[in-house]
Amino acid sequence: MTMLTKSTPNQKRRGLTAVFMSAPALLGLLLFVAVPFLLAVALGFTNLRLGSPLPLEWLGFEQYRRIFADPSFSRALLNNLLFAFTVVPLQTVLALLLALLLNRSLGGIAFFRTLFFMPVVFPLSLVAVVWVLIFAPGPNGMMNSFLELVSFGAWTPRDFLHDPQLALPAIMLTSIWQGTGFQMVIILAGLQAIPAELYEAAAIDGARRWRQFWHVTLPQLRNTLIFVVLVTTILAFRLFDQVQIMTQGGPHDATTTVMFEAVQAAFARQQVARGAAMTVVLFLVVLLISWLQRRVARQEREVL
């Protein structure tokens, strides 16, 4: 932008109006995002605890040393990682598959698109509550009897949400159910943006469907897929609602997450500084993922 050296009164007035127009939003972002963010970083270096008689002290990295020495927090980070590495690929492949299936003009396709997108409008807390019952223990549980049916009776009923091995996968499945439609719609839009000429050219070259998919669809969908993976990965690290409602982090930390630990610290135990430090770790992870995404995408097209 080139600022004019001499600004007329009219331009000055317009500039003032611009400041006035953006002020409410900028003030909001400053007060409710920037300040708390800086406060989170600052608090993470202290010992602040609500209602504590101890004086406020600067601890440096002590708080971070403590949380990384805490087995529950390490478990939480590991769980977030496991969640990301399982849910992201599964959900993306499922969404891509659905999008490919639904990317044609046959009668009734719109109906199916609606159907697969529907869970997206369900609040996560409601989804979590419904899936608590789906994972009900005993042979009468819906998931148990479904697995029994598809395994021809080989499945023995388990108590998913109280089983250290199955609780996290149960939460993963719940999340995939709710999140797939969101990804599907974005991928579908990406598919529809691919110029038809590319497929025609490939067809003239004698490329079969499978080859067309590898050589036209996937490369053209690259940025869309990168974006979808980025968003889902970040969501995986923000995981909280399902854990709070379905398992409370249990059994034995099997489903605890960084955010769940942070809320436990800051609210259940009033350790504001400790909670703040944990959320700073969460932010750093999100930052790292976004940075990686930008490196991978590299192209000038901006996403997020």
Binding site: A18, L39, L102, V121, P123, I134, S145, V185, V263, L282
Partner: protein
Amino acid sequence: MSRSAGVPLFYLSLLLLGLLFISPIGFMLAGSLKPDARVLVEAGDWRVFWPAGLSLDNYLDVFARVDFVRYLLNSLFINGMIVGVGLLVNSLAGYAFARLQWRGRELLFGLVLAVMIIPLEAIAVPLFYMVSLAGWRDTYLVQILPFIANAFSIYLFYTYFIGMPRELEEAARIDGAGPLRTFFTIIVPNAKPVFASVAILTFLTQWGAFLWPLMVTSSEAVRPLPLAIATFHSLPPLQWGDIFAFGVMMVAPILVVFLLFQRWFVRGVVATGIKG
């Protein structure tokens, strides 16, 4: 494989997948309409989707046990304010960044883009501390105010406005209209799609808000639906029919809006992934 054999097969697999996908919703809907005792007992076979009795008792039970209408109104008010005031505030900022020349514009816009990456979770603890000091806990205000200014909304408005032809504004400017009047009389009427996308996207992300209300509210009077269903779920006696009835009533309004304005929902979601 010939085309003619492929199509029925295609529909069949789609139908199976679709049924599997909506089975949790069918479970909830059927369960809300049958006696409590049968919800659990019948969850293990085909009767799981059968609304035996078609009774509205569970729905009446919900109203008898909790103040459902109150939660619904709370949610509608909180989200209405966030969406409505947010549209105004963020579109104004988006326009100032996209079209007006002013000192500090580039720097501030860079900061807006930087702030976009900070998730609520990363600032929830200190934000909670701040609003506690301010004495705002357990109010509507604390559930609305922090979410009005939204960096991503500003960005979406910005990308849309910057793509609009300049001629319209030039004409208004020659007529002597200031930026504010130009914005409201020329820009807003010609930018309905972006307003709809941002409104729906904001609504979708805020309607399910759970973490923040959980942190800052303690009384029923200001609680929104997503928190209320979690509380209702843990409220003895555990009656699944009632819980499902609560769930159906909670999701029905948004589902109706979704089915009516589906095109816009999809557009709103796609706007997150595609520039402009």
